[in-house]
């Protein structure tokens, strides 16, 4: 077991797992308290269009996916702000169209046979040093923004109507949250895959929300809980030679179940 830590790719996987856990913990908390989970799902799926685009034009995958995801985020921000009643239809639409565009572009690329599985379940064992550098940068950016604008983000998330009365630029912060979500989701898809992203953005965050009495705590705790799930999942997948993404999901689901049972039996502790 311990000798595994000597391998570069295992080290990279662990570092990437921790970084992604904290990024998704912070951003996921914002997504959940703003009730944007469906939007985040839309962005995640739409980003596949960007992967197709990048493959077709021979661009870096990260770049293509981030571009598409950010465009989707901006579009969604625009639509949710201006046309709240049609938002479900709209998300469903770009969700599907994004994926379809991706698949068609991959079809049209001569000789390229992309592995849809690695998009769905990620490739945490294939994370490079460059990937890690990019993720660290993104996490740093997120932390700085949240630190400087915590009050505004809190006000917009809790009661956007009142925040706008107090002069907070609600549209700006709403859009900012969506764009940061897009960037985080793309990184997380690369590492843990689309399916696990949705799990990471909901399971640890749900547990953290119940245990926290402030948004800041919720963000921090979500990061810790995801890290725990990710590392335990990785270890088990190494020991028993299982698919890492699926193992992490099962660990998270088990974690959630035990939490719910514990919560029922014991009453909660609050931080």
């Amino acid at each position: 077991m311990l000798e595994a830590l000597g391998y570069q790719f295992i080290q990279n996987a662990i570092i990437a797992g921790v970084l992604v856990s904290f990024a998704s913990g912070i951003i996921g908390s914002l997504i959940v308290v703003n009730r944007m989970v469906f939007l985040a799902g839309g962005i995640a799926h739409t980003s596949y269009g960007g992967i197709g685009l990048a493959i077709y034009f021979g661009l870096p995958l990260f770049f293509g996916a981030s571009l598409f995801a950010c465009a989707a985020a901006l579009l969604m921000a625009f639509v949710t702000i201006n046309q709240r009643d049609k938002i479900d239809l709209f998300i469903g639409l770009i969700w599907a169209v994004g994926m379809a565009v991706g698949i068609l572009l991959v079809d049209l690329t001569p000789g390229y046979n992309v592995d849809l599985m690695s998009y769905l379940f990620g490739s945490i064992l294939a994370v490079s040093r460059d990937d890690i550098r990019y993720i660290s940068l993104l996490l740093g950016l997120i932390v700085v923004i949240v630190f400087l604008f915590y009050k505004e983000l809190l006000a917009v998330s809790y009661d956007s109507e009142y925040a706008s009365l107090r002069g907070v630029n609600v549209r700006f912060f709403y859009t900012l949250i969506l764009v940061l979500s897009a960037l985080t989701i793309v990184v997380a898809i690369k590492v843990v895959g689309l399916i696990l992203v949705i799990a990471l953005l909901t399971i640890p965050i749900y547990i953290a929300e119940k245990l926290s009495s402030s948004l800041a705590w919720m963000m921090f705790l979500s990061g810790i809980i995801s890290t725990l799930f990710t590392l335990v999942g990785l270890t088990l997948s190494y020991l028993y030679d299982l698919t890492s993404g699926a193992t992490i999901i099962m660990v998270s689901a088990l974690g959630l179940t035990s939490f719910l049972v514990y919560d029922k039996l014991k009453g909660r502790q609050r931080f």
Binding site: L148, L154, R166, E209, S213, M218
Partner: protein
Amino acid sequence: MSAISVQNLTFAYEKQIVLEKISLQVKEKDFLAIIGPNGGGKSTLLKLILGINKIQKGTIKIFEQEPSKKLSLIGYVPQNTNINIDFPIRVIDVVLMGHVPIVNLPKKSFFKKALRWRDEGETACAMGALGQVGMEEYAYKKIGSLSGGQRQRVMIARALCAHPKILLLDEPTASIDVDGQKQIYDLLKVLNKSITIVVVTHDISVVLEYASKVAHINKKLTFHDVSYQANFQKSNGHFCEVEMMQMLGAQKGCSC
């Protein structure tokens, strides 16, 4: 000077006209009670004054200026205080949101504030506001663990926290117990010595005991100065709204 001046305001959601040709002057230090049936447009009027709903026809001025320029002078207690109950936030942090935000501060103190996250002066002031509504012992409880009436008190504290010149309250005591209501209206009465108060209510005893003006809104507006309130028989205690409206209706032709 008029604190709030509404001229010829007409407003519709989609195609349904909700307010029609409303004109209303609220003077400084008035205590205006707005009454009217459910769906009459009371909340809509407040949201227009606050700029939450966009004006379609007519004008609204706050201290003779565009409302958007004077928002920091207005405190607001919304009708629905049950939003986001699961949100992980403590009472004191909700009240602190009432403060005028850091975006309006000069650059230097912006960074100071942003980095310190919390200012002791602001916290003390928020605690004071909670004290005024009798909620300071709940300051560090999660908002979702309070009862509906307690949450309503917290929302009032949040509005007070901004030290407003005008306070708009939309049925602020709808789920507050009898003692609490009296406590809050007595507080409003004290505040009214220096600020303007507009309160939407279905409780006629409030109109009788505290208000200096009353406006009845049901799409259209009937406006009254209640300095003649001595005419009502206060000793009876509670009036029902229908009676009150009949009385207002009967006096429609009066000179106020």
